[in-house]
């Protein structure tokens, strides 16, 4: 099937879409060319490059880049490839340096990407315009500690790209991105699944929680007290840029405060900084998770029990899904902790994250990965290539009337629905239909 045929199979409202978007190499090529070179992409947390000279090596799509903090304190993202003949400049995962020297002919770039040294420049090249050979830089902006970059010089500013969704990122970090730091370098691992399957799931999909995660829930991961009426009571949110989120709720009046599971001092700090609407939204919530288009997922929730003490502990995790091939994805898991929380608490939060939502989290996450893999697996085949999947949940019901829920963007209290999936693919489709 050609790419136009694939795109032509989408239902207008994305309530149905061809399974082959998870398997077709031509689709991935188009995604890399039309999304990953134009969208703002998440790269790193500011705290990973805390001081001048700090750097981490990452990918944007499949392009190798360096995220580096220059002597001027500014964070930049640049291709990790020498502008002479393309050699990978930096092979380390992370480090601190003022300069990167190419191992082939020793061209040397400073950590802002500027070409500083060309051995024998004059005799070898004659007049040599060094500035024409700076590392290719991606436009870089930081929001609430999250470092984004785009290759597209004509892209809208990051603030516009995030739009109303910025409010939810604010909510995530208690209004103060600078208060957070990564617990450590991110976990990295590969899964045999298309990259979008994790993103669409993180952006909503409350429907899978009671079924896919039935075993650990019954095991007491979220506690054993029955907090009430039962039934899905969350809310899904989306914006025109394709950003999606879900807030899960305990029954009204459960008395669970916003930022439950964080140390009390921390909650007080958040209260001082965050807007009242944020508190209204987060009160009685048990989870906030979502996906910044295209591939940055996040989750903040409270884990009560993982086999040791019963003690509600919050964690905040970021999840980056980097395509390797249509059927293989590299995942990066970042745990964020409040910089000023006690070390012992930080460790507990990391433990809660690692045991339930980490790379090797046998207690929860493994069932999700198993599903992403199982969808990708069935996509191989001639009949599979002509099969459409069903993303219609909620599409045939009347859209709930607007209510006074204070979060921005579009949202409905239809927790178990596929509104967010459709919003995600509507944006995806818009990008894919743009010419290369």
């Amino acid at each position: 099937m050609s790419l136009p045929e694939v795109l032509g199979r989408f239902a207008p409202d994305c309530s149905s879409l061809p399974q082959t978007v998870f398997n077709d190499p031509e689709v991935l090529d188009a995604e890399l060319a039309r999304i990953f070179t134009r969208s703002w992409l998440f790269l790193a947390h500011e705290s990973e490059v805390a001081v001048s000279g700090d750097y981490v090596t990452r990918r944007m799509g499949r392009d190798q880049v360096i995220v580096s903090r220059g002597e001027d304190g500014q964070i930049r993202v640049m291709r990790n490839a020498c502008t002479h003949r393309g050699t990978l400049l930096c092979k380390a995962t992370l480090g601190n340096t003022s300069h990167f020297m190419c191992p082939y002919h020793a061209w040397t770039f400073d950590n802002t990407g500027r070409l500083r040294g060309v051995p024998e420049a004059r005799p070898a090249y004659g007049t040599f315009d060094k500035s024409s050979r700076d590392l290719r830089r991606a436009r870089t902006e930081v929001y609430q500690g999250l470092v984004f970059a785009t290759w597209d010089d004509d892209a809208e500013p990051l603030a516009d790209f995030l739009g109303d969704f910025a409010w939810y990122l604010d909510a995530l970090v208690g209004g103060d991105g600078a208060a957070w730091e990564v617990a450590g370098p991110p976990q990295r691992y590969t899964i045999k699944a298309n990259w979008k399957l994790s993103c669409e799931n993180f952006g909503g999909d409350g429907y899978h929680v009671p079924y896919a995660h039935r075993a650990p829930i019954e095991g007491g991961l979220f506690g054993t007290e029955d907090t009430g009426t039962g039934g899905p009571s969350g809310r899904v949110v989306w914006t025109p840029q394709g950003h999606t989120a879900r807030v899960g709720y305990h029954p009204a009046g459960s008395g669970i405060p916003a930022y439950h599971g964080y140390p009390d001092e921390q909650r007080a700090e958040f209260a001082a900084k965050a807007k009242p609407e944020v508190f209204a939204v987060l009160e009685n919530s048990d989870v906030l998770h979502g996906n910044v288009f295209p591939n940055l997922s996040f989750i903040q929730t409270v884990i009560t029990y993982t086999g040791d003490e019963v003690e509600p502990t919050a964690f905040l995790a970021l999840r980056l899904a980097l395509p390797i091939s249509p059927t293989e994805t590299e995942m990066l898991n970042f745990a964020l902790v409040p910089r000023n929380a006690p070390d012992a608490w930080k460790q507990k939060s990391v433990l809660a994250c690692v045991r339930t939502h980490g790379a090797a989290a046998g207690l929860f996450e493994s069932d999700d990965v198993d599903n992403f893999t199982a969808v990708t697996f069935t996509g191989d085949g001639a009949i599979a290539a002509r099969t459409d999947l069903d993303y219609s949940m909620g599409a045939r019901l009347p859209r709930p009337e607007p209510d006074d829920w204070p979060g921005p963007g579009e949202s409905v209290p239809h927790d178990h629905s596929e509104y967010t999936h459709r919003a995600y693919y509507t944006t995806w489709l818009r990008h894919l239909r743009e010419d290369a």
């Binding site: 691992y189 039935r214 086999g307 040791d308 994250c353 090797a360 069932d367 198993d370």
Partner: protein, 163 residues
């Protein structure tokens, strides 16, 4: 039997309990305060810096959390662990050093083979640093295990087993 031979026998039996999904037997081989940790492998700039970080480890488990995980596996809804997979440990290069009264530091290299349904076997290798309590006469208990994976970006299949 020499200590080395006894430790070797202990490690082989311990691996067999995992490979044969005799999780109860396996838990019985652990001390109550057992700690299992898989630090995150990284490639630092300088060869003098460590290749592993525990700030955000790949795994950090206690006897309690492992028991919870095994209990889950007996559920019909343990999707990722059902149906059963093929698993096998190859333990070699066992080096034993006494570090206290009836306390032993045991290093070993382990290769783990895993396959699910019709998938190809996935191999993974790691170094293990164990602490054992006990002696050849009374038997041993595993008090701690740290696993140094030989790969910075493992696959999910390589992360699934206990090493």
């Amino acid at each position: 039997m020499s200590t080395h031979a006894a430790v070797t026998e202990f490690l082989f039996e311990e691996s067999a309990a995992l490979d044969e999904t005799r999780y109860g037997d396996w838990l019985d081989l652990l001390t109550e305060d057992f700690r299992y940790e898989v630090p995150q492998p990284i490639t630092p700039q300088s060869p003098d810096e460590p290749q592993y970080t525990s700030r955000m480890p790949i795994s950090s488990e206690s006897k309690g959390s492992l028991r919870m995980r095994f209990d889950r596996m007996s559920s019909e809804y343990a999707w990722a662990d059902r149906p059963k997979h093929f698993l096998r440990h190859f333990v070699s290069n066992i080096r034993v050093r006494r570090i206290g009264d009836d306390v032993w530091e045991v290093r070993s290299n382990v290769l783990v083979a895993r396959s699910r349904t019709s998938e190809e076997t996935v191999l993974a290798t790691a170094g293990r640093l164990d602490v054992l309590h006990g002696n050849p006469k009374d038997g041993f208990r595993l008090a701690a295990r740290t696993v140094h994976l030989d790969v910075e970006v493992p696959s999910a299949a390589q992360l699934a087993p206990i090493y």
